[in-house]
């Protein structure tokens, strides 16, 4: 019997399909990296999205080119939860090496779609098995051996689509979009999808409860990863100089930026209004960023932990000599090389104080792909307004995974190029002192090289200087500049993006978090409410230095949990440095740092234990 029309309530073998699980489960696709599974995974993700069902995708991949295990999980959630879920109910087992363990990891009642030669059905009797002769199906639609490895993955998309009741037409649309202009590639791949779909229709009998049903929850929404979103932020910030050194997981920030610049920033004469330089290392990348920022460009780099360490010395120069620049740090686990393809939030403290000798930095903390874009372009305004390097802290989960989002909005304010004196200003003023606080905002005026005035030039140095940029070793002159820098940092509290109060109740308990923690935390708050009847207030921090509202939030709660993805409670530590002593005792930490994206259940369990719920 064909499966698509399986009636509800019908019992197949040992497992009942009485209770359908609709639009609320995860699919785990286990493959080998380098097998081209990314396209297939992406098509499946976008097909569920095309069915109007909220969806998110996560790539758990090795630091390797080809041959090691990779898992891609796709979560469909009618309630719109997009964080990782601990368990995946539906397994597509395409990697013989991990197949046995993958099956053993399935929850009872789960589903395993697998290459039939692997005989996985011997390992469990509480799982629904769908054996599929992937190799045979692939060989039939793709005689060319070279391509079969890639096409094989599309066969699974067809099988899964059929078993989960995803419309074939939706898959077709997704595939067409994926291979936009490559008609032959589309045809080959669609042939494979269709073959998988047809095989499932003819040979498999549905006896599991998981189905995708059409909804209307994704209309008007987009799917994008945080790094591509950050690239768009840079584009609409009008970035002109990009200097970088490749490092996972930040590489795609610059790749996306470069693609966009090539598309939108080439004059009709074919000339570029930008420069992208692959530097020799991160030391050079940040040096170029500061050189460019000094000479008037909107400049940026993107890096991750090891690159941040290398950028330390120059970051101090940027802070002390007051040079704009934007540094995207897409965090991965440390210490040292750590796990390069696993996510983390453990760079916060080192970035906030990057470099020796009383250095501190402004750090923006995007909590969604939309904020990767928005804080991305705002970072350039802040860098030039405050004349200092601005760090944008994303992470691998936010940066490299696909997220659903509201479409991005066009900036509503013009570029803020900061306090720059022109030739005309100098004619009028007769001169200037580079580091003098003439406006009471702790920000001096600067000039750009090339300003055609004999008094325009000044001497930029990382050595001790007075307010007129002269070299100094005089205690009072040194202190004067350092004090002003401190005031500038203090003023930045009001200029950086303020926190977002996500749940504003009357609870005595508050939660503080930032970045990608938000996805799991929002779901966890619902779990806590539903399962324990407890309401919790939540404030999401979006920048360091901390806005005053964050102090108020802590002051207005009896205890405040700080949820973050690192071992050493770095956000809590930074808060402790900032809060009055009597408030510090209110803070307690919920920490997650095993490299996997945070899931709601982990927070809920820890919170319930700590609260004695």
């Amino acid at each position: 019997m064909a499966t698509g029309d399986l009636a509800l309530g019908q019992v197949e073998g040992a497992i009942s399909v009485c209770e359908r699980v609709t639009n609320d489960f995860s699919i785990n696709v286990a493959t080998v990296n380098g097998s081209g599974s990314q396209s297939a995974n992406s098509v499946l993700l976008k097909s569920i999205f095309g069915m109007g069902v909220p969806v998110s995708g996560k790539n758990l991949f090795p630091s390797n080119i080809a041959g090691l295990p990779t898992w891609y999980t796709i979560r469909a959630s009618k309630d719109g939860y997009v964080a990782r879920k601990r368990e995946s109910e539906v397994l597509v087992a395409l990697n013989p090496e991990t197949a046995k363990q993958d099956v053993l990891d399935l929850p009872a009642g789960g589903v395993a779609i697998y290459e039939e030669k692997l005989n996985l059905n011997q390992y469990r009797d509480d799982v629904v098995f769908y054996p599929v002769p992937f190799d045979a199906i692939t060989a039939a639609v793709c005689p060319e051996a070279k391509l079969s490895k890639l096409v094989r993955n599309m066969v699974y998309v067809g099988v899964v689509a059929q078993l989960l009741s995803i419309d074939l037409s939706v898959v077709e649309n997704g595939l067409r979009k994926q291979f936009a202009k490559k008609v032959k590639v589309f045809e080959l791949n669609y042939g494979a999808v269709k073959a998988g779909f047809d095989y499932a229709t003819e040979k498999l009998t549905k006896h599991d409860p998981y189905v995708i049903e059409r909804m209307n929850q994704t209309a008007g929404k987009i799917i994008i990863d945080g790094n591509a979103a950050a690239g768009m932020g840079a584009l609409f910030a009008g970035v002109t100089v990009v200097a970088w050194y490749p490092i996972t997981p930040s590489t795609s920030v610059v790749e996306a930026t470069t693609d966009l610049l090539k598309k939108f920033r080439v004059t009709p004469e074919g000339k570029a209004t930008f420069a992208v330089i692959q530097a020799e290392d991160e030391l050079a990348a940040i040096g170029m960023v500061l050189g460019a920022g000094w000479a008037g460009a909107r400049s940026m780099t993107a890096t991750s932990g090891p690159g941040i360490s290398l950028m330390a010395e120059f970051s101090g120069l940027g802070y002390y000599a007051e040079i704009p620049g934007v540094i995207f740090d897409v965090q991965r686990t440390g210490p040292s090389t750590g796990m390069p393809t696993r996510t983390s939030q453990a760079d916060l403290l080192s970035v906030a104080f990057l470099s020796h000798g009383d250095t501190k930095h402004i750090v923006l903390l995007p909590g969604s792909v939309k904020e990767c874009y928005e804080l991305g372009y705002k970072a350039f305004d802040l860098a030039e307004r405050l004349q200092t390097p601005i760090f944008v802290l994303s992470d691998l989960d936010l940066g490299m995974n696909n997220w659903m989002s509201e479409p991005f909005e066009y900036p509503t304010t013009p570029l803020d190029r900061g306090k720059v004196l022109t030739k005309e200003d100098l004619d009028r003023l007769g001169g200037f002192a580079r580091y003098r606080d003439v406006d009471g905002d702790a920000i001096g005026w600067r000039t750009l090289p090339g300003t055609d005035h004999p008094k325009a030039a000044y001497f930029t140095r990382g050595s001790g200087h007075n307010d007129a940029e002269g070299y100094t070793e005089k205690p009072d002159e040194y202190v004067e500049v350092m004090e002003r820098l401190s005031r500038k940092f203090e003023n930045a509290r009001k200029l950086v993006p303020g926190p977002v109060t996500v749940k504003d109740g009357t609870s005595k308990i508050g939660i503080l978090a930032y970045g990608s923690t938000d996805f799991a935390l929002q779901e966890s708050l619902d779990q806590v409410k539903k399962e324990y009847g407890t309401s919790v207030d939540y404030m999401r921090i979006r920048a360091y230095p901390f806005a005053h509202e964050i102090h108020d939030f802590v002051a207005s709660h009896e205890r405040v949990y700080v949820v973050e993805q690192d071992r050493d409670a770095q956000l809590a530590s930074l808060l402790k440095l900032d809060l009055p002593a009597d408030q510090v005792v209110k803070l307690r930490s919920i920490l997650h740092y095993n490299g996997l994206p945070l899931d709601a259940r982990t927070i809920t369990e820890e919170f319930a234990t700590r609260e004695g719920l």
Partner: protein, 345 residues
């Protein structure tokens, strides 16, 4: 009636040499670096470079302080140790209409800065890169640097047992397009070399032996005034005729290598070594390697290539400085964002 004060001599853009001066030097009296600063002033003045059109770059060390001692009307960036190349790269990308002159030292270049130095050369970044080369670390009181010759002796009697890095041979091999060596004590040669450097379009790498009077000017040093006066062996004599000069010097044919510079100036290299061709890269490197084996200190213009595209040429950027492009050029319109959003739905 009082006699009229004589009008100060001005250059062809109407500026007196005073407008090319800098702050008072704080380096030791007799330091070779001060002489180099003087020659930079002379060269910029004689070439009629507008001071506001120059960016002065440096790293860290005695040498890197010197941009404070010439051309106060030019923007200056004293960066971090060994990292002048990257800061310079960024700065010239932000405004490629500027002339850039960087001053580094042998420690700042050949030790801590080697990583960035070689990549600057490779890119043929349009800038003049001067190494004020004294073979020692001055600010930390006289340790050997990586350009100190093997067998040379510190004041304390310590002998250097490692070979020197020849920054000129390296620069030629890696892609600099104007490479020379001079001596701070040879006013004439250094001035001509600097003027030609200003007329050049790609990376100019000049290694200028600049004795450290405090830590490396004694018997046994190969970077002392005395040693240089006795061992300086020019490979060619540099004649430079700026594009705006009318006076011409006539050389006999066959003994002069003539190079037409980017700005229309003429560089005339009178051969002192038989048949030395400064456009032959392999021969230039071989000559330098041989001179090192023979304990000779060759000076002069070793290599020049006026045709090779610079890094800016490769990037194909607009004529205007990137840094000051208006928002209408740098921020795409709303329709661009809308199109992107549609493609992601």
């Amino acid at each position: 009636m009082a006699t009229a004060t004589p009008t100060p001599k001005v250059n062809h853009i109407g500026l007196p040499v005073l407008d090319y001066r800098g702050g008072k030097t704080t380096l030791c009296a007799g330091c070779g670096h001060n002489a180099i600063s003087e020659r930079i002033i002379d060269a910029m003045f004689e070439m009629g470079v507008q001071p506001e059109r120059v960016m002065k770059m440096s790293g860290i060390g005695c040498s890197s302080k010197s941009p404070a001692y010439f051309m106060s009307r030019a923007h200056s960036f004293n960066s971090v140790h060994g990292r002048m190349p990257s800061v310079s790269t960024g700065a010239i990308l932000a405004n490629h209409t500027m002339k850039m002159l960087g001053v580094s030292g042998d420690g700042d270049t050949a030790s801590i800065g080697m990583g960035q130095f070689v990549h600057l050369l490779r890119r043929n970044l349009p800038m003049i890169y001067i190494i004020e080369d004294n073979g020692v670390y001055g600010l930390t009181k006289g340790q050997f640097s990586a350009t100190a010759d093997i067998g040379s002796k510190l004041k304390t009697g310590v002998i250097n047992d490692l070979p020197a890095i020849d920054t000129c041979a390296l620069a030629i091999q890696l892609g600099a397009t104007f490479v020379g060596r001079s001596f701070s004590g040879d006013k004439r040669q250094l001035l001509s070399m600097l003027k030609a450097a200003i007329a050049h379009k790609g990376t100019v790498m000049l290694d200028v032996i600049s004795p450290c009077v405090t830590f490396n000017d004694h018997e046994g040093s190969t970077k002392s005034y005395k040693f240089m006066q006795e061992n300086d062996e020019p490979i060619n004599e540099i004649g430079f005729v700026a594009s705006f000069d009318e006076i011409d010097v006539d050389y006999g044919s066959g003994e002069v290598y003539e190079v037409e510079m980017h700005d229309g100036s003429n560089l005339r290299l009178r051969k002192l070594h038989e048949d030395y061709d400064p456009t032959d890269k392999a021969n230039a490197v071989r000559t330098l390697m041989e001179s090192q084996l023979n304990d000779e200190i060759l000076t002069g213009v070793f290599y020049i290539d006026t045709q090779k595209p610079t890094f800016i040429d490769h990037l194909n950027i607009v004529d205007e400085p990137l840094g000051t492009l208006p928002e209408s050029v740098t921020r795409p319109p709303k329709s661009a964002l809308d199109a992107l959003m549609t493609s992601l739905q």
